[in-house]
Amino acid sequence: MLLKVEALSKHFGGLKAVDGVDFHVNQGEIVAIIGPNGSGKSTLFNLISGTLRPTTGKVLFQGDEITAHKPYRVAALGIKRTFQTTTLFDQLRVVDNLAIGRRVNTKTGFWDALFRTARWRRERDETVGKVLELSGIIGLGDKFFDFVTTLSQEAQKRLAIGIALASEPGLLLLDEPTAGINMEETAEIIELIRKVREAGTTICLIEHKMRMVMGLADRIIVLNYGRKIAEGTPQEISGNQVVIEAYLGGKSIA
């Protein structure tokens, strides 16, 4: 079990944004978290990644408790995330974004930079090599030196995934990776997510579009009003009456 979340809750004043959620993610899986707007999906990610402190409950990664660790420590342990609104270093170029994404794997500090130590050279060369390779994987090889503001919406989303991937994390948390883009572009992002999983990265993703999740996820977890109301394979979830009623207001899932 790579990630385990136990009885996790987050209260904002009187609002129980996340309310006693238990779930886990196995090595090599794609787990999807779905649920209506405001059901606490993003908050759940914020709790796991350390952006928010849980009110109660535990988060374990590879068996070690990481509850309420600072975000940079969670990232250093190998959990990387993207944000619901595409978040990039928008003053910089594609190469810089990816290199910063890999910064957690490098130890070059002030004195290394000042005296150009062996470590400075080794890590610089390694970073360039890895980042060049990664830019090809995320389909931005020809945009390597472009400023990120010149990229299309969809290319920016791929870059956001690339930044998270750059450090070769054990677990990738993707918050609505296809929000706000069209069907064709969505297919490209799904293709990328598949490729990433095939390369051995475990993925947990939040998704709004049911149809996208059905063909992609091994397991689905459904949230409603901060509570987990169902869990199962895509087949089980699409036939689950509770989910259909709570989540889709009684309409069938097509």
Binding site: S49, L88, F89, D96, A99, I100, R103, R116
Partner: protein
């Protein structure tokens, strides 16, 4: 090396000009202004690291400049230390105080960091003016000795009574500062700083310890503020509490903005041109600050990236123009 020279010839030309400049026998006034500009350049390069590259608006920069100046002044007068020992000590002292001040203030963000560092600056100003036993209070600290002469094996010694010697001394430290900044900014460490400036949440999410990196940047910035202050004490030979005043911080910020934030040449361009412009405006009389204000606003609107940014885009546009013209000629020849 050949390739390097070809790409950087402009900078080497500038360096050569700076080196031979004293041979043209400039007036004492010009010398003094250039020495001071060199000192402001070092301080502004420091400010550029924390403000320009790391995105944290420290308003204590002038205070650290003042601490460096007073540290050198006090160590060379009251403690009888040599300037050559006092200067590095003062710089490291500023880095250390930066560490202590950074611990609480860098927990705050944006405007709160600016205000808390401003508050520290005001405290330093009050101390400089009132702790008379240490600083000489409002009467100031007089009679700071010149640096000891450096003995040369064959040709006697370099003494620092001449402006030319002090000019070269400041130039040496300016180049040292530039070298440090260049190495740090264009490295993975520099990436960490820029990541924080651009998006602190994302920087933290990718695994950068933002607090630690901000603290590092603040310490290095203050080291160079202190170095510049120490050189200032050496050049002036006397200090008044006003050297720790936050007006100095705002002057440095103006040099940085007008020269070009987050460029390496910008702080130097700003620190050299702005004092000369202000000096020229003196002739106009009491309305000079109004005119300076208008100039400031206009240049911020039209050159948001400073003189350096303006020059770069002008350079690129000219290069484009010539490239297109050449292309045009080729097309004409082909048709």
């Amino acid at each position: 090396m050949h390739e390097y020279l070809r790409k950087k010839w402009f900078y080497f030309l500038l360096l050569l000009l700076a080196l031979v400049f004293p041979l043209f026998g400039p007036s004492r006034l010009i010398f003094t202004m250039l020495i001071l500009s060199g000192i402001w350049s070092i301080a502004t390069l420091g400010l550029n690291l924390i403000l320009g590259y790391t995105g944290q608006a420290s308003l204590a920069h002038g205070a650290f400049f003042g601490i460096g100046a007073y540290a050198v002044g006090i160590m060379t007068t009251r403690l009888g230390l040599s300037f050559w020992i006092a200067l590095p000590l003062a710089s490291f002292l500023c880095a250390a105080i930066g560490f202590l001040i950074g611990l609480p203030t860098l927990r705050t963000k944006g405007a709160y960091f600016a205000i808390s560092t401003l508050a520290f600056g005001i405290i330093v100003f009050i101390i400089a003016g009132n702790w008379s036993d240490l600083t000489g209070g409002h009467m100031g600290l007089p009679a700071i000795p010149r640096p000891n002469p450096i003995p040369l094996p064959l040709a006697g010694e370099i003494s620092f009574t001449s402006p030319a010697a002090r000019y070269y001394l400041v130039l040496f430290f300016l180049l040292l500062t530039l070298w440090v900044m260049h190495r740090v900014v264009f490295s993975l460490q520099g990436y960490s700083f820029m990541a924080i400036r651009n998006n602190e949440n994302l920087a933290e999410a990718v695994g950068i310890n933002t607090f630690r990196n901000k603290l590092l940047s603040f310490m290095v910035a203050n080291f160079f503020a202190g170095l510049a202050g120490g050189l200032y004490a050496m050049q002036l030979g006397a200090l008044s509490p006003f050297i720790t005043h936050h007006v100095l911080t705002f002057n440095l910020i103006i040099y940085l903005i007008l020269g070009g934030v987050a460029t390496l040449a910008g702080p130097i361009i700003g620190a050299i041109t702005v004092p000369f412009i202000v000096d020229a405006l003196f002739a106009i009389g009491p309305y000079r600050m109004v005119i300076f204000g208008v100039l400031l606003i206009v240049s911020i609107i039209y050159f948001p990236r400073g003189l350096m940014g303006g020059l770069t885009s002008l350079w690129n546009r000219t290069a484009d123009y010539y490239r297109h013209r050449k292309d045009g000629v080729r097309h004409a020849a082909e048709s």
